[in-house]
Chain length 324, copies 2
């Protein structure tokens, strides 16, 4: 059997790591959002792919919550001395990833480079970008339209989000690994990791040609709520829900996947803190679990619960009405 | 008064540093070879400019003989883990120079970026590239034709040099700072630092339009021999002289500048170790000095001797016969 996980950055990487730990090598494919990718100093930076890769390799920085363990910052210090921009913190080790990826992207796909890095870092599961073609998330805010990293890092998510545009999404095809996992006869479940529904998951499922397949799915799609007790564990998900006029709650997350995204989930895992909310979720099957992942045991336990839950959820395919 | 120094890497940077120390701010222009420049991981690396800049800023690594003091190597270690090429050692601090320069070169000249970096690092003299247009030294060897850094770093100068080609040199114009220094009415002397005559100095004086000016010079050109006791202090100068069928000696250096380069020097400073050779140098005025520069005092002392010597050397302009 195989599992397809959709993931953005830190939260998604944690559950993907749990799934990787409990599944046999090769059974898991993690499809990662690339809408956050950007060019910085001419280097191709893929923040979500790197977070997932570093986490599955066990070399992520757990204290800091992002980046690499034991990271050093010599380059940033020297860059500051030269008057360069340092708002996006490029660690010295992390830089190697961007340098080597950028070099290889001249002749190879992002899929190929990502897969090779994973092998070199000892990862036994598949990490694949949602697409090998560029997708760039633009954030429309009360302070203007800006590239994602400007919103996310430079402005620390302070502007109010009014809309999102995924530049290139209409032209982007799913990566071969994404398509392969979707069409794998051995596929047992699709797990939407606790990632930002708008910034991370929406671009992944919107890649050209993915939605028709997901609509016709024969396996359950399970989403793990990134909202716990009305807050996001990390990132601006709760803030953006408020700015979009939604309540920041696991109920609203369920409603978003069931209604706004037209039944793009069949079941939802919510945190035990929100157990009382379960009754308010009408459109999806609900499982209550401890979803806060503090260590590898937490991750593996949650991953197990998610897969167990998936076995009891029936897929609810819907007619696909649209182009393609 | 102003002084124009022509320099390659480490040896040239040392004397340039001495000149910088004894001259008033702004009196020195160091024109640096850019034939060693190359693109590595998509970054524009200018090894000689960086060596001169780091040295004049007092942040060069004296023990190692190249690069930055207190350098760290996290990025290279991480690059090795990813299977990337690590033959050209990019230090973490040094990387900042290449990243920021590459970024700025999209909209600025190499001259502008070099000048700004110098100011930011507290340098009071002018450091200018020989040209803002790309010149790339190709080395013809017994193991094939190869870019300079492949010869110099990757193969550690092991191949026998059969010839040199400076790609782009015919199209390259002198940088504004180079032309300005050459035509400065206050110019008192041109100092050819103890750099490789073939790899560092030849490309500088061969930049399109420079030779006619040097031929008509009204100030003395003084070369400091990079060969001491038949050996180069650093680098392959002596080895290449042998491969070119020349004796590796200060006498041969003098002959090269006087004859091969058609009187492209008026005086030569040779090391006290070679004092007995002075009598064999016929075409240039000779000054004997301690040319080994171990510290800033050595550099300043030698710089003073070179400038004192220059005051007693008459420029020997020659008719320029050639294009332009």
């Amino acid at each position: 059997m195989t599992i397809l996980a959709l993931a953005g950055g830190v939260g998604g990487a944690k559950l993907a790591d749990g799934l990787a730990a409990i599944l046999q090598p090769g059974e898991l494919t993690v499809v990662v959002n690339t809408g956050d990718d950007f060019e910085h100093f001419g280097l191709h930076v893929s923040p979500d792919i790197d977070t997932v890769t570093y986490t599955l390799a066990g070399i992520n920085n757990q204290e800091q919550g992002w980046g690499l363990a034991g990271e050093t910052w010599s380059c940033m210090a020297a860059l500051e001395r030269l008057g360069g921009e340092t708002w996006f913190r490029l660690g010295d080790h992390d830089l190697a990833t961007h340098l080597e990826r950028t070099r290889r992207l001249k002749t190879e796909t992002l899929s190929a480079v990502t897969a090779d890095f994973a092998v070199r870092l000892g990862i036994k599961q598949h990490i694949v970008p949602m697409s090998d073609e560029p997708v760039r998330t633009m954030v429309e805010t009360d302070r203007g339209n800006m590239p994602f990293q400007d919103y996310f890092v430079r402005m620390a998510c302070a502007p109010a989000v009014k809309g999102l545009t995924f530049n290139g999404l209409l032209q982007a095809r799913p990566s071969p690994g994404f398509l392969g996992a979707l069409n794998d006869p051995a596929l047992e479940a699709i797990v939407i990791c606790p990632s930002n529904p708008f910034l991370s998951v929406l671009p992944i499922i919107s890649v050209n040609g993915v939605l028709p397949i997901l609509c016709k799915r024969t396996v359950p799609m399970i989403v793990v709520s990134p909202i716990v007790g009305g807050k996001a564990i990390k990132g601006p998900a709760a803030k953006i829900m408020g700015e979009f006029g939604m309540q920041a709650s696991c109920v609203a997350v369920a409603g978003y996947y069931a209604n706004d995204l037209l039944q793009m989930a069949d079941g939802i895992v919510i945190d035990s803190e929100d157990a009382a909310e379960a009754i308010r979720i009408k459109d999806l099957d609900v499982h209550v679990a401890d979803t806060i992942m503090r260590n590898r045991d937490d991750k593996a336990r949650l991953a197990r619960e998610v897969l167990d839950f998936a076995r009891h959820v029936a897929p609810r395919p819907i007619p696909y009405i649209g182009p393609l």
